[in-house]
Symmetry: C2
Subunit: 652 residues, 2 copies
Amino acid sequence: MESARELSFKDVRIGPGFWGDRQGLVAEAVVPYQWKALNDEIPGAAPSHAVENLRIAAGLSSGEFHGFQFQDSDVAKWIEAASYAIAALAAAGRRDPELERAMDGAIELVGAAQQSDGYIQSYYSVAAKGKRWTDLEWGHELYCGGHLIEAAVAHFQATLSRKFLDIMLRYVDCVDAAFGIEEGKRRGYDGHPEIELALFKLYRVTRDERHLRLARYFVDERGRKPCYFDAERERLGTGKRHRMLELDYFQAQAPLREQRTAEGHAVRGAYLYCAMADYVREGCDPGLRGALSAIWENATGRRMYVTGAMGSQAYAERHSIDFDLPSDTAYAETCASIGLVMWAWRMLLVDPDSRYAEVLERALYNGVLSGMSADGKRFFYVNPLEVRPAVDRARQDHEHVRSRRFEWFGCACCPPNIARLVGSIGGYAYAFDEASVWVHNYVAGSASFPAGSGNLILAVETDYPWEGLVRIRVESGEGVERALRLRVPEWSLGPGRGFSLRLNGEIVPAPSMERGYAVLARAWRPGDLVELELDMRARLLYSRPELGEAIGLACVQRGPFILCAEEADNGPGLHRLELDPSSAIAVAREDYGFGPSLRAEIGGRRVILPPPGAPLYGTEPPAYEPCRVKLIPYFQWANRDDGEMRVWFRTM
Amino acid sequence: MESARELSFKDVRIGPGFWGDRQGLVAEAVVPYQWKALNDEIPGAAPSHAVENLRIAAGLSSGEFHGFQFQDSDVAKWIEAASYAIAALAAAGRRDPELERAMDGAIELVGAAQQSDGYIQSYYSVAAKGKRWTDLEWGHELYCGGHLIEAAVAHFQATLSRKFLDIMLRYVDCVDAAFGIEEGKRRGYDGHPEIELALFKLYRVTRDERHLRLARYFVDERGRKPCYFDAERERLGTGKRHRMLELDYFQAQAPLREQRTAEGHAVRGAYLYCAMADYVREGCDPGLRGALSAIWENATGRRMYVTGAMGSQAYAERHSIDFDLPSDTAYAETCASIGLVMWAWRMLLVDPDSRYAEVLERALYNGVLSGMSADGKRFFYVNPLEVRPAVDRARQDHEHVRSRRFEWFGCACCPPNIARLVGSIGGYAYAFDEASVWVHNYVAGSASFPAGSGNLILAVETDYPWEGLVRIRVESGEGVERALRLRVPEWSLGPGRGFSLRLNGEIVPAPSMERGYAVLARAWRPGDLVELELDMRARLLYSRPELGEAIGLACVQRGPFILCAEEADNGPGLHRLELDPSSAIAVAREDYGFGPSLRAEIGGRRVILPPPGAPLYGTEPPAYEPCRVKLIPYFQWANRDDGEMRVWFRTM
């Protein structure tokens, strides 16, 4: 069933360029900054207490637990991000002893906070002693465990040290003893999916069938009737659920095989669907595949913002219904886009079709990266597509919408989540099997693929996504026969558009295209040079007309970037701008003072403000003045002065 | 200072026609229905307990208080509406003994619930004994008292009986003893304005200077620093206010003379501004007039929906900021539009300029009447301009938006408020002074104006607002010299539009226009016939471009009616419709099965749904098919099958 193997981040070296810049920022600024945040050392930032909770659980400190039940997961994600950072530094021949000490200390702390039977969670060790596994609906125990497992796998892969992995193997034994269909075990599962994908990830390292069985159990059990959560509530005597927090919020409204739509909490859903894809990838029950495909179609075909964001409402951080994607009250949590990247990646491994890579790219270059400021020190939890700060301040139903990134959050899931994704971005670029090498994302650097007794090493030189030229040189792999499959993004195709492919300087006429990939099959020789030039011309995008919030509107895309207008470039009243679809869109590289960027300009017009005495409602249609609408990549908004931002525009 | 006197509802007889139908419905169906509701006799409706609370306070029943602190006000508004109903029946030579018994019983109940010193409020008599006047910010004591005073004045005017008035005079003595700037009195005022306008109304009946002084006191005191409510909170030990419930929520952020914008709770504001207009009307302190004008301009020029609705957010039922008027999450409380009618009416008395009548008409024929179903038995609290039931059900921030009217509400301010406004609608049609008679609204029936020793009686024959012809015949008033000032609505004027005026069959060429009124000055003779024909052709309206929610959109107005499209006439997906501004708008009377209505049709086009497999986002601009967009008066929406509704449309 498995169609492709992923290339580990360890086998990908990232050189200078778009991702090199960001991975450097993460290793040198973001990860150290976040360690300070987790230790409550950032003045003015929301308190974390995450490290202190573990210290108390370990008996190294006294005091009370503070924060959410899932506070441990922030530390887990940080260790994972730190592992990637250390690996990236090592690949560049460098070390950061201070970071290594912090990471080792964090791992030792988790180990010290582990109970004798392997159980780990500071909340249930400190604040709710003796209540372990009693509130799976909201306790986040297995969620935290899942993140710790992911971190342990990353740490093992990055350092080859087993010390964290061994801690988490004991934890998994504890979970395995507690959950399952066997007599005497709980037939429960966590309210927040995460343990499932973590166990699949662990299994791919350990190949221990118990880990696969446990992962499968959690996937199979979810949504079984009568619902475990209902019985649990009865035991706890908790009351009726809010209608927004019913079983579908937990993706537990039905067994997964029977689900067809992306419901409930957007992040929970994305993590769960990752595990469903892992399940299919491991060759287990193809019956799940139909559900997975249907949910994918629903989520990405009807419930996804043009920025690859998901979750259209703040309350319960959840999906609402098909095509309901408000721009101004969008929740669009950074973690949901991260989850979508993770999910799309797994879909791509199951079925190497560029349709999944398109979604991955959309989410990664827009909804994910918008979550972090250019300096790596401020973060968005919510990523709206339209911001008017004065309105957002005045309206209670816009309370979640901010025009400035935060230094930290009480619920700080997003910042370390970006850090771990960016840190491991090399692992989201390539796949391979016996016959093929896929390049899904163009990342400057190199990648080493196992090929028989040796390796096929490709060096990638590119300024993607700022520019469309990608040069791939074979560095080693004499005589290795592989079909090189280069993704040609959908935005580089279509009427009047195209790409060019050269092999050793010679144009490849009408290159073979398979499932969205240009295919060059041959026995490679060191020095072979493949040059792909994508069509980076900016273009207008429209939504399906069912999407009421975007009907009659258009947005601008340039390469993988969705663009937006900011008040800083266009003045206030962005809603008064209209785009001229017949106008050429001029794009130039630009430095606004926060690192490489670009400026796009499109002809348009602006509604003229009538004199103050003109009536609020009248028969006079709007009057216009011509203007140029200036746009920047959406992910870079809010790095300058506070002000309005807008993605969708009326057209002339 | 007083520019015009209003003609009491008692001096206006309403004949068959638009308002006769509605007044009949109110007298025969709405008022009896609401009495049942207040007595908890409507199966399935939200409980009221309002009458029972008073019975308990009167010692006639035992049990506990239920409902809000302001539950008494529902009974007050009902007595007021019943008084108007009884007067209307009497004018038609009829009686309803059952209604009279119910009304008398309600008044006796209020009297029985009155404490020995005149105090009345069942909440503080039953549930919070001994806590009288301790929580003016939220207690609604003077708010309830104000409604009772209004009811007593109406009852006195309708029946000439003093029995309720006398009860309320004792109440006012109690209030007068408790509040004021004099030593030993509280310098407080109510969190919910209402007592102020009620005391001005009482003063106009009693001419007792103490009533005027007390009314003025409450107006003058509001917003004085340090704020009474802050001191009260300190005494009560209540915590910090939510940022949406700060002093501006109560219009107490500054003394009224210093206020320039309409802030806070929309209904509270409207009631307060009524009192400010009354204050100016009574010739008190012209310093208040500047504030009043500025607030009027702000409220109606920047914070009013095209339907005359106000209050753009559900949370705290309040204004947000200038030009922030969302269509789909509008709060637009029925009571706020009622308050706007009351406020505009008072502005018109202070300054007889049609600009105030325009707003009155806009609110009355749209945002007010939409609050009640055609059968008078179901009510909207919230009056949105765009409804998609599936979205509204799925979204927590749309929870207040309903596509079906309710049988009753726990907080049932709106239903009896409509009943009292419709019941007294004759009182919102005419004004007069020594030299002039103004006709502000065209209501079939007759009106009798004091004119020297006799009366000038005008009989009005019209099917307004269904049709534009108004025939006014002088029935008595031989030789009375008055300038008859007939309002020519703004929608009947402007480029390519007009009206015609005939006197005794002869066209009046270029009639004199003063401040929006066509003026016919002469010594009238019985039999004189004035015929005004307004231009009822439907037209498109646009908003000022600052209004982001309506920019690029248009709506259709026909006469005073704003029109809307319903799913029942246009199928689902109303957001896919666009209007053709060059299309003639055909209008015909229509009977949809819920009484007289009209059908407007305008040419347009509809975005075609692409095939299911088409991408959510793509480069294909929308494709259209021509269609006819069918519209009905906004106030009549939701009288047929449940479905979508929309006021604003894109244009071609």
